[in-house]
Amino acid sequence: MPELVKLTIDGKPVEAEKGTLLIEAARQNGIEIPAFCYYEGLTLQAACRMCLVEVEKTPKLQVGCTLPVAEGMIVHTDSPLVKEARKGTLEFLLTNHPLDCPVCDKGGECELQDMVFRYGAGESRFTERKVHVDEKQWSPVVFFDAPRCILCYRCVRICNEGMGVNALGVSNRGVVSEIVPNHHDHLECDECGACIDICPVGALTSGIYRYQTRPWEMEHVGTICTHCSDGCRTTLGVRNGKIIRGNNRDRSGINGEFLCVKGRYGFDFVEHPERLQSPMMRVGDSFEPVSWTKAIEEISARFSQGGKFGIVGSNHTTNEENFFLAKFARQGLGTNNIDHHRTGDLATFFDALSGRNDALATTDDLYNAAAVLIVGNDLSQQHPLLAFQARANVRHHQAHIYTVTSGPVREDHYSTGRASNVEALRDQLKAEKNLVIVFGDSVQGEALRKLVAFGDSLGIPVKYACLVDYSNSRGAFDMGVVPRDGGMSIDQMLAAPDLDVLWVVGANPLKNASLVSQKAFVVVQDLFMTETARRADIVLPAASAYEKNGTVTNVCGEVQKLKQALKVMGAKTDLEIFGLIAKEMGLNLGIWLPDKVFEEIRKTVHGYNVPLAVMATGAAPTLPLNGRVAALPGVIQSAGDTLFTSGSLSRYSKILNSVMEAPGELYGGTKEQ
């Protein structure tokens, strides 16, 4: 039980945990102490002096952002002296701030504007010349306008402390002090754009968003990023059916404000010119557009003839779609030949845990665990959110990070070092209070069982996360898009000479493999003319995750809601496509509305009986499958994506391709001295 102290703020008696900063204690009690440099979770600066308050029995105004509460303290945050001090500071701040608000991206979302609105200094007594420096472009996505910068050092801290990249610094001194990028005149970094979002003013602006719109003209749609399995919530700014920006300033979701370059900028694939907008049917060597009705009729006709089916599901589509597809396969088409590109050995994983409901690590656990062991994965590249959580854990809770990876990883910069051998590692880990083990695709089968056994042998609470790659890899597995009960895996389907039908949904199995069966009738649902689609007899334009409702399950088994941000002409959601085919075939697989299907999932899929209330607001953790899980045939292989790629999707994102950096560069910088 933490010790409490009593103090008085603006005549209101309040209690706060010992050591709480005054600015936080005030906030907890609904009293706002204004601040620019103070930022929850980042180191203290006491630089902006906006938070000055009056504390009785102290001669000078006190700095609210660094002053810990003390018993009997009597604080005034709105005395005439404090008000006048804030006004004075704002007046100073405005002397060199260009008042170009009308053409500033931040207008309407600017903390400086808000402060001046609330605390005065509306008209300035400054009549001298302002310091001017020209705007600079640091990268395709990051622009810097020095005169607007108020030097709160938030960007520097989020990059150093939050991302562990150290790409931003401060140069010069006095009134010409300036934020500078790590490569003299340009940035080489994660290009995550966190510095842009955290900037309280319009000093740092986004190459994609700048001069596009006024914030209030956009509709803000909170959905889940479709690029990797971490499941960050991204709030898409949509105007006239166009996504203009992605961020998560409202801190909704499991990622708080965090987003990587893909979550913040990788949405432009939806409007790529090569996006399919009409069903296509093969005529000889080429394709011809056909109506949806015709396409659906052709497919159901062929499907109704029966034969040997092979169905490849997606790790990008929703749980509802995966569930419906699995049902379609087993009940509708009577086949177990259904699979998806598996990037982690979930089957063995769940079997090894055999129903221990407390053994699955959540995203939160990576932030709260006393220690994190990373095995065979480049977390900062492949799981940016999990890496961010672990970094924050080190900063805020002095957690220990252990790395067992082939090459150097960013985590090395703050890891407890690499153990010389397993025994040494075991001894180190035994000393920890508790542990989270995350491991990549290289750990599968026996190796995976050994790792779990190793964890269980430590005699401390251990949780695990099997690192799968894609936005709904976990969901695809849980919904049964796997060759259970003797079904064929993808490689087996492709190899089967007698395959009659190959139905591919949002996947690209023929990217670097070929289909043996010449006679196979191939149906593909996708956003683009992929290698697989080119082999198809019928191609159906599918909607992307940003164009549909439903749910997805992230790498840690947390279920979250997708919210439709826009509609793309001609495309249909995969769920609707399944429904239409089923209807045409006269199958009764139930209503194909996301909510209805999810109801069924909650009733029938183990671990998915999640509270809807939680779902509505955030992420609901599921429970691992219980009991024994039969091993599955087939290949398990990571996509080996980097921070800037996500399988085929990123191929169609101009922005992501423009910022591609040599991943090696990302490990620049040195341990803190």
Binding site: C48, A85, F92, E128, L151, N172, R173, V175, Q673
Partner: protein, 427 residues
């Protein structure tokens, strides 16, 4: 050759070797009681050393005037961490030029003082942070250190006493703010000279997060005398709570500008008229900066006072770093205010808003006025902006810029009048 003739009115304690033939050499030092104090201190307990320093009523000569013995007692001597001694030889306060002489003419006196301090706080490593402009001093100190090492006065088992101490010079590179103790610490760690939050204070977590004792050159240089003659003897040279002598740097409008060692409490007018030979051309005194440009300026009629910390505090100024700038009746105080503000605007580290933006704004207003475009509202504005900085900045540099400005505007308003253009003319 000394830079200025000594005055018979001086009390030469710290400067007793100034002017001796090669006064900086180890031989000269040893021939004049050199390292007697260290040997004596080695026989004393740390507590006894600190008590002597407390008894001496020595107050920091860097500017803040903090009681030295008390500061030494704050260092957690028994901490398992290494402890460091740092010498502040950044000497950048306008009007101040004394540490230069102590290092140039008698470096070993300072070094012995440092060694005694190391005994008091159980430190084995020390760094002398010297402003980059003093390169010739860095070189001469390095020579003095080398000689001391070679003769066993530094390094392992110093003069057979079993005490180890390593001492190094460290060059600055042009930044007044790096004289501020915590900015100095960041600078010595290879960073921008930006001040640190206090607490923790350097005594507890200073250089490389270890306990650190940081004093000015002159402060350390006073230590050997205090140990040799006893704290009381030093204290008795001055006035109560203001022990000893200090090097007063007299500059500006005097016949014999120079650095003179005078006891604390020495009459200011006597220092100007007799020690420094009075004001040239029989002009009248107008104002005095008592201890470096950061101190509020005194009107002539305020200068008939003894020079000690408490008296100056009483009349709302400070004894500061001992830089006494004398100004005669011809001095244009508006231009003085401008020059001082140009300095602070140039030296502000830029960390906090009021200092960064305030100093520049004030500089711009003063420049405009002196260039002949002053407005009536400028004078009250100068005062208000200074008040808005005072006590609200991250470190004392903001105060150092505000205080003299406020005092000049208050005490010499008339000097700004002539720069105010009647509204009519303005448009």
């Amino acid at each position: 050759m000394l830079y200025n003739e000594p005055s018979p009115l001086e009390t030469r304690i710290l400067s007793k070797r100034f002017g001796m033939p090669n006064s900086a050499s180890l031989d000269t030092y040893l021939a004049t009681d050199g390292f007697k104090a260290f040997r004596k201190a080695r026989e004393m307990s740390p507590e006894q050393i600190i008590d002597e320093v407390k008894a001496s009523a020595l107050r920091g000569r860097g500017g803040a005037g903090f009681p030295t013995g008390l500061k030494w007692s704050f260092v957690p001597r028994t901490s398992p961490k290494p402890k460091y001694i740092i010498v502040n030889a950044d000497e950048s306060e306008p009007g101040t030029c004394k540490d230069r002489l102590l290092m140039e003419y008698d470096p070993l006196q300072m070094i012995e003082g440092i060694l005694i301090a190391s005994l008091a706080v159980d430190a084995h490593h020390g760094y002398i942070y010297i402003r980059g402009e003093y390169r010739y001093l860095i070189e001469s100190i390095d020579r003095a250190l080398a000689e001391a090492y070679s003769k066993g006065y530094l390094g392992k088992n110093i003069v057979g006493t079993g005490w180890d101490f390593d001492l190094y010079t460290h060059s600055g590179a042009g930044a007044y703010e790096c004289g501020e103790e915590t900015a100095l610490l960041d600078s010595i760690e290879g960073k921008r000279g930006v001040p640190r939050m206090k607490p923790p204070f350097p005594a507890v977590a200073g250089a490389w997060a270890s306990p650190t004792l940081l004093n000015n050159v002159e402060t350390y240089s006073a230590i050997p005398y205090i140990i040799n003659e006893g704290g009381k003897a030093f204290a008795d040279l001055g006035t109560p709570k203001n022990g000893g002598t200090r090097l007063v740097c007299i500059s500006g409008h005097v016949n014999k500008p120079g650095v003179y060692e005078l006891p604390l409490g020495y009459p200011m007018m006597k220092a100007i008229n007799e020690v420094a030979g009075g004001i040239p051309h029989g002009r009248k005194l107008k104002a005095v900066v008592p201890g470096g440009s950061s101190c509020p300026i005194l009107r002539a009629d305020e200068c008939d006072i003894p020079m000690d910390y408490d008296t100056l505090a009483k009349i709302g100024s400070m004894l500061g770093s001992g830089g006494m700038v004398v100004m005669d009746e011809t001095t244009d105080m508006a231009r003085v205010a401008l020059r001082i503000m140009r300095f602070y605007a140039h030296e502000s580290c830029g960390w906090c808003i009021p200092c960064r933006e305030g100093t520049t704004w004030l500089k711009k207003i003063l420049t405009r006025m002196v260039e002949g475009n002053g407005r009536r509202e400028d004078v009250p504005l100068l005062k208000e902006l200074s008040v808005n900085m005072l006590g609200r900045t991250f470190c004392a540099l903001g105060d150092a810029a505000a205080m003299p400005t406020i005092s000049i505007v208050d005490k010499f308003a008339a000097d700004f009048e002539k720069y105010i253009v009647p509204e009519a003319v303005l448009v």
